[in-house]
């Protein structure tokens, strides 16, 4: 039996940032990680572009992870258990297996920071056969960057998520031919800079409103039937074409790793927990941050969010997390796919609402309102669904529902 103030589950950027922050706020922290090293998915993200906001310099994923790992290792208040998998979360305790054997860890507060897994062929009901060569982008990334193996020579990428775009470039540099990226939507969920640097610079076509109709091949992928989809994402059979290839890389989104915490109320949009301003779930002792809460575009933002969550978890553990009884719900107009947190406590000071747009906007102003009172404004030159945005404002004027709107 292990006892601690704050237990952080997951040793990626979110978990490490949350652990450091909880420690800074005076808590004894246990950090558990299922892999044998801290860093999470960052360890396989060998491209650059990380750290611009957090460290104010451009780092690779492993470098970003290394910096955090050094800080965690130097922190005497944090005990790290790698190779440790949480198999059950109970009221202020978890059960684990792995390096510790069968162990129970009691904590006053628990932070979920397990990130996501990739959406699979099954999640998107991919049709056709089930041969070797249909892989998610993250798996390909691990096999190429960590194991040093090339997964195929003729590649098609389904979905234009960031890992897919990054892998289009990576596989091209390793000598594979990336024939095309197919995106079922009319816009990409990937970052603009990745579309430029990973596709356009290598003349890899990105076909919008296109998808894979069917995978062909018994033992190994031999090709795909692909084509256009209509506005309901249904394949238009008359556009059906065949392309010979040996690999289909899926980059079709991420799913928060909520399986072990499936007792918590979740959002239908983000599939992450419903949280308040303190990143606190409906179970007061359970906090959530990073990609398991909602999928971020930038690891820097994951770390910043986790830092907040870690602080609140620490305060909760020492009975210092004071909240107003006046809970204000956060609503949004149909222009947004979601807004987070779900609730804000009435009181003094600044607060932040994160959100994603449903469709592209140009030169619009986003406002946070309480009744007719405008609490905060944000002018957006160009906004896309693929980009997480936020609005920060002084909440002292708010006494009932807060709503996000575009004016």
């Amino acid at each position: 039996m292990i006892n601690t103030d704050v237990l952080v589950i997951g040793g990626g950027p979110a978990g490490m940032a949350a652990a450091l922050s909880a420690s800074e706020n005076g808590s004894k922290v246990v950090l558990v990680e299922r892999d044998n090293i801290l860093g999470g998915i960052l360890n396989q993200c060998i491209h650059n572009g990380f750290g611009l906001h957090y460290f104010h310099e451009e780092l690779t994923g492993p470098e970003f992870a290394y910096r955090f790992r050094k800080l965690v290792e130097a922190d005497k208040n944090i005990t790290v258990y790698t190779n440790t998998l949480v198999t059950k979360i109970g009221e202020k305790f978890v059960e684990v297996m792995g390096a510790l054997g069968n162990e129970r860890i009691n904590a006053k507060a628990i932070v979920l920071a397990m990130g996501c897994h990739e959406r699979t062929a099954g999640n998107i009901n991919l049709c056709g056969t089930r041969p070797m060569g249909v892989l998610t982008a993250g798996t390909v990334q691990k096999m190429v960057n960590i194991d040093g193996k090339i997964v195929g020579k003729d590649v098609v990428i389904l979905g234009s998520g960031d890992i897919g775009l990054i892998m289009a470039r990576r596989l091209t540099l390793e000598g594979a031919k990336v024939h095309m990226v197919l995106e079922i939507n009319q816009t990409s969920s990937g970052l603009r800079r990745n579309i430029m640097q990973c596709l356009e610079d290598f003349d890899i076509p990105l076909l919008f409103s296109h998808t894979v109709f069917e995978v062909v091949g018994r033992d190994r992928v031999e090709g795909i039937y692909y084509g256009e989809v209509d506005e309901n994402f249904k394949p238009i059979e008359s556009t059906r074409k065949f392309l010979k290839c040996d690999t289909v890389v899926l980059s079709v989104g991420l799913v928060p790793e909520m399986a072990v915490a499936n007792f918590v109320k979740t959002s239908n949009i983000t599939n992450g927990a419903v949280v308040n301003e303190f990143y606190q779930t409906e179970k007061g002792w359970l906090f959530s941050c990073g990609n398991i809460l909602h999928v971020h575009d930038l690891v820097d933002n994951v770390a910043l969010e986790a830092k907040q969550a870690g602080k609140f978890a620490s305060l909760y553990a020492s009975n210092k997390l004071l909240a107003s009884d006046n809970v204000l719900e956060v609503e949004h107009s149909k222009d947004f796919s979601y807004a987070l947190p779900a609730t804000i406590f009435a009181g003094q000071g600044n607060t932040e609402i994160k959100f994603r747009l449903k469709a592209k906007i140009i030169k619009k102003t986003i406002v946070a309102k309480c009744g007719d009172v405008i609490l905060g404004k944000k002018f957006v030159l160009a906004g896309v669904p693929g980009e997480m945005m936020s609005i920060t404002f002084d909440k002292s004027g708010a006494n009932k529902k807060i709503s996000l709107e575009i004016v």
Binding site: N83, L100, A121, K149, G175, V215, N262
Partner: protein, 471 residues
């Protein structure tokens, strides 16, 4: 020159059951298959139901063998340590006359069934469609892992002297004093041959010079749901059967998730999933179960049923003495397999008398499912049980190594998956796939990129980085 009593061609559940049975009565036997593992055809892709036997036409082979097989399953599964879930089955519908006639048929087949009313059905299955008023309940219906059952039979048979040759391509068969079977790898001799090649029956029959059969392939597609999806499916639920199939059923698996399917479409021998098929399942299942959220499906697969007329074909070849033909072993072949093995024994003129000194296998029980004291013992002696490979299914490196060191050697990722469940969870191997490959490569002493996903030609990588160039 070794002459086997029997060579069985085709390592599905039926071929492997026969193989297992022959070794148990002390016969020398070789099991041949072109695949890299047993149970890679129809035996890995079906509903996993051990049917009670109310459905087949009385007096047919299907009826007799189904009922007998169903009776044999509990003892065989207990012997092998294979999970058999006695969940029961409901045939639901509003045509009371049809249900009554099925009940009568069950009686003729000697199968225990009960007619249930609305309240009783709803108590058992809260998610049943509100329109359903009546059902037939088959008490002795089970679910089993069809592949783990087959694999365990193979393991046990090997332990008792049986031999298996996989990745074999049949070239020719000659009959002199005995059969001389030549494959790409070598030559084998035997007194009898069993053709249990399933979808490949006619290919094998051609080489043997035995009867070709008019075979029809039917593709059945399925949805598999995530374990964490908490829709309670306590028993197998069928709609009233149609002419072509038992309809779209919903059934729990022994692993704690549930399946919805199968379709029944004319097909070639290609296990693909189609948008039409999946749509058909979604539409048809609504007549029995309400509120299934298909977004919780983690995988879709299809299997091929081989049909030959209305009944199983299990016969001595009239063209070549010493060959047993097994054709059209579609549903309920999984259930019937142990009984088919007995029948084949009979056709071969062997007495069904098992040896006294037979060995037992260690059951496939993963670390997470072992009793606490056994877990402690393993943790104290083997570091590999402290190493997590598959986080969704909670499978350790120790479990993977256990699977790789069984009587039947396995060297494919899917083979390991069928034995351990590694890769069957929510992320579908997204995280553990490379780790499993690495373990197979290390343990079997082969290169990473030579590891197979399933069969020859499914190597997991094409080379090292900076080695491949596109021409």
């Amino acid at each position: 020159m070794k002459i086997y009593d029997c060579i069985v061609i085709g390592a599905g559940v039926v071929g492997t059951s026969i193989f297992n049975k022959l070794t148990r009565i002390g016969k020398t036997c070789l099991l041949l298959d072109k695949a890299s593992d047993v149970a890679t055809g129809a035996s890995k892709a079906n509903s996993g139901i051990v049917h009670a036997g109310y459905d087949p036409k009385p007096e047919s082979l299907k009826a007799k063998l189904n009922v007998r097989g169903n009776k044999l399953y509990p003892q065989i599964c207990q012997r092998l340590g294979v999970k058999l879930n006695h969940c029961g089955a409901l045939v639901v519908g509003n045509d009371l006359e049809k249900i009554e006639s099925l009940h009568q048929r069950a009686k003729l087949n000697g199968v225990k069934t009960e007619i249930w009313g609305k309240q009783q059905i709803q108590n058992k299955v809260p998610c049943i469609n509100d329109d359903i008023n009546s059902a037939l309940y088959a008490v002795d219906s089970y679910v089993v892992s069809p592949y783990l059952f087959t694999i365990s039979l193979a393991d046990e048979a090997i332990l008792n002297g049986g031999e298996i040759a996989l990745e074999e391509d049949l070239i020719s068969v000659k009959k002199k004093d005995c059969f001389e079977i030549t494959t790409k790898k070598g030559t084998y001799y035997s007194n009898h041959i069993i053709n249990s090649a399933g979808a490949g029956y006619n290919d094998v029959a051609k080489i043997l010079g035995t009867e070709q059969k008019p075979l029809e392939f039917r593709r059945g597609e399925y949805f598999v749901f995530d374990k964490t999806y908490n829709l309670d499916v306590p028993c197998t639920i069928f709609p009233l059967p149609s002419v072509v199939s038992k309809g779209i059923l919903v059934t729990p698996t022994v692993d704690g998730n549930f399946l919805v399917g199968p379709t029944s479409d004319e097909s070639d021998d290609c296990t693909k999933v189609t948008s039409k098929g999946l749509q058909k399942i979604k539409e048809n299942v609504m007549t029995t179960i309400k509120g299934i959220n298909f977004k919780k499906s983690i995988r879709q697969f299809s299997g091929i049923r081989v049909i030959c007329g209305n009944d199983f074909v299990i016969e001595k070849s009239k063209l070549v003495d010493g060959v047993i033909n097994l054709a059209g072993l579609c549903s309920p072949a999984l259930t019937s397999a142990p009984a088919i093995a007995e029948m084949v024994l009979d056709l071969l003129g062997y007495e069904n008398k098992e040896l006294d000194n037979l060995k037992q296998i260690e059951p496939y029980v993963m670390f997470k499912d072992k009793p606490k004291d056994e877990q402690q013992k393993l943790l104290a002696t083997d570091e590999n049980y402290k190493n997590i490979v598959c986080k969704c299914e909670k499978i350790t490196k120790g479990d993977i190594l256990f699977a790789l060191n069984r009587p039947l050697k396995v060297h494919s990722v899917d083979g390991v998956k069928r034995r351990t469940n590694a890769g069957m969870g929510g992320c579908q191997g997204g995280f553990c796939f490379p780790k499993v490959v690495e373990n197979i490569a290390q343990e079997n002493g082969i290169e990473f990129e030579k590891v197979l996903k399933e069969n020859r030609g499914s190597e997991v990588a094409v080379g090292e980085i900076r080695e491949v160039h596109h021409d």
